[in-house]
Symmetry: C2
Subunit: 364 residues, 2 copies
């Protein structure tokens, strides 16, 4: 599989939904496979909150493959021997695309809290510019889970003629207060952490000791990505060590898991980017900019494929079902599968074997 | 209704499950109604994590009544014109019973992190001592929700001859990792808050500005007390103010609710007590000290009444059902009702009208 990692620079402005402008800006992206001469074998992958453009393959010297490596590759469900796959880092993130820690041209000052709020609509508009810059005007499919699934649906609504198929997993039509509340833990924990310094922290401030606020917020995140059942299976009521039950800070295995995962995360993810991406998720609402959700959905021309997971406690299956019912009532092309899973929201990253055939069939 | 608020001092030791000893200790408690001459008209009320002995009535000059005031009073479901109701503050809490901020006799130093871990079993053992000191050896009923429901069930197992009826709402037989994970947010947020000073904060340190760590942990708590549906009903996607959608720290109504409730809470509740009570909830397991859950449950002689709420996302109805099935299989007396509610775990405090008749019937 041919992997290319590149950065595209845009000197033309990105007009944001807020009315503000991002100019200039950059998009970091990765491609897998080969672009056909007619440039019509393209599949766009959209990443989730903590994801990046690195969706597949393994970098030299790296142990970990991209976040959807099981799905994307030669002969895999998203077959890079047939398709040219593009995966970009969203604006606002911290893996190479312009975000709050980027320098605000022409100064060398970083944006920090002066970075404009970006929305899911803004994220996909930036990706449209990336596609244009590559001379690509038609997509075979757009695929994403969670915030990536939001982007896929937003593409379907905002750019009805762009893609043949839209595959959205573990997403919704508008973020509910339940999810906003989980995000609120992170927002408050980051804001109130004195080391966050109201966004004025040094660039490498958290490399050694991650920001506690981000780690704490991420614990709430991990709760919402799992499910009661997946936690039972994974951790049961097992205790770490033998004699710690009556120690105040003795830990259950689920607690160790939360500490381990979140402490590491808080060393590698930028807290300002976290705040901005969480804001984009909170403000996600397919209906915004249209008369109603019905009006927004009605614009869709692509075949839409919705995949939810029975134990998803962040975006419930009923939310995807709502879109499906609306599209079917409108006579639009839409399939819906609720996959039985105990893995919760994380299933879209974990239980690939349960939906890879469906994706393969859609693309065939 | 005759309300009495008192403190009982115990100079004899409280032997804790950990092997440690609390000596001396005090229990703050409240009573409603009049004790019969034969002392057999007693109902014991057990409170939840953030609760206190103040379950009913309104103090002079106070606007807010006790936390179950709708249920307890003259002519109410728990009828104080017939019953003598006792409600005590659990050991470890911060409303008058001995807890981590109490002075460690004979020194005048406070326990702080040297306070021993207390468990649900310890909490009820202390209440047994309180009952003995009042000459009460038989209870008409024990009633509690959430951690109070855990105590009610633990009473049923540990002291099978004490009460005629056990009414446990919104509880479980053992705390699952899902709940421990929610509590973990609070544990980490408190521990890592620099103003917590590893438990060495001044006694009135948080009266003006609550401890951020406790407020943040409490946001996670409030998520688990509500449900996706109750949040939809309560907040929808409403925004606070008109023009804040594209402000990074502009807030949705659900966010304002979380801030308001948790900031106030963090000014009035002691963070060390919070850590200790959360530990008691985490370690709750009816089976501990017995061969198995089956063995523990088999000891119960009281009539047990389990009430769960369909939308409880903290302790799921299936957990109460599990106890019910086990007791029915054993030929023990047990009723189970799952109440339709959109209020989530909080329903046991909010939707009294949906279960007060059941409680009245049980007590009649």
């Amino acid at each position: 599989m041919d992997i290319q990692t590149k950065t595209q620079h845009f000197s033309s402005p990105l007009y944001l939904e807020s009315g503000r402008i991002l100019e200039p800006y950059e998009i970091r992206y990765e491609t897998y496979g080969k672009l056909d001469d007619d440039k019509r074998n393209v599949i766009l992958i959209c990443h989730a909150l903590s994801g990046s453009h690195h969706a597949a393959g393994t970098y030299d010297g790296d142990r970990k493959a991209g976040w959807w490596d099981g799905l994307i590759g030669d002969g895999k469900a998203i077959d890079t021997s047939r398709y040219f796959v593009i995966s970009s880092n969203v604006v606002g993130s911290c893996f190479g695309s312009t975000g709050p820690m980027s320098e605000k041209y022409p100064s060398e000052e970083r944006y920090r809290l002066k970075f404009p709020v970006v929305t899911i609509k803004d994220m996909i508009r930036a990706q449209m510019h990336l596609l244009s810059s590559l001379g690509i005007y038609h997509l075979r499919a757009i695929v994403g889970g969670s915030m990536g699934g939001m982007q896929a649906l937003q593409f379907a609504v905002d750019y009805p003629n762009l893609a043949d198929d839209i595959i959205s997993l573990a997403a919704t039509y508008a973020t509910r207060p339940w999810t906003i509340a989980f995000n609120k833990v992170a927002v408050e924990a980051i804001r109130r952490d004195s080391r966050f310094e109201n966004g004025n922290y040094a660039i490498d401030a958290f490399v050694e000791d991650g920001l506690d606020g981000l780690a704490i917020g991420r614990i709430a995140g991990h709760i919402s990505y799992l499910s009661p059942h997946s936690m039972d299976d994974k951790f049961s009521r097992n205790y770490v060590g033998n004699d710690g039950l009556f120690e105040l800070f003795g830990r259950y295995e689920v607690e160790r898991y939360m500490e381990y995962n979140t402490d590491n995360f808080s060393k590698t993810f930028d807290p300002l980017s976290y705040l901005y991406i969480v804001k984009a998720i909170n403000t996600y609402n397919l209906a915004r900019g249209y008369d109603s959700l019905y009006d927004a959905i009605l614009r869709i021309k692509a075949r839409v494929h919705l995949i939810s997971f029975s134990s998803d406690y962040l975006f419930f299956p009923s939310e995807m079902e709502h879109i499906h019912k609306m599209m079917i009532r409108n006579g639009q092309s839409c399939s819906y599968s609720e996959i039985e899973s105990d893995y919760g929201h994380d299933a879209f990253l974990v239980e690939l074997h349960k939906f890879e055939d469906e994706i393969r069939d859609i693309l065939d």
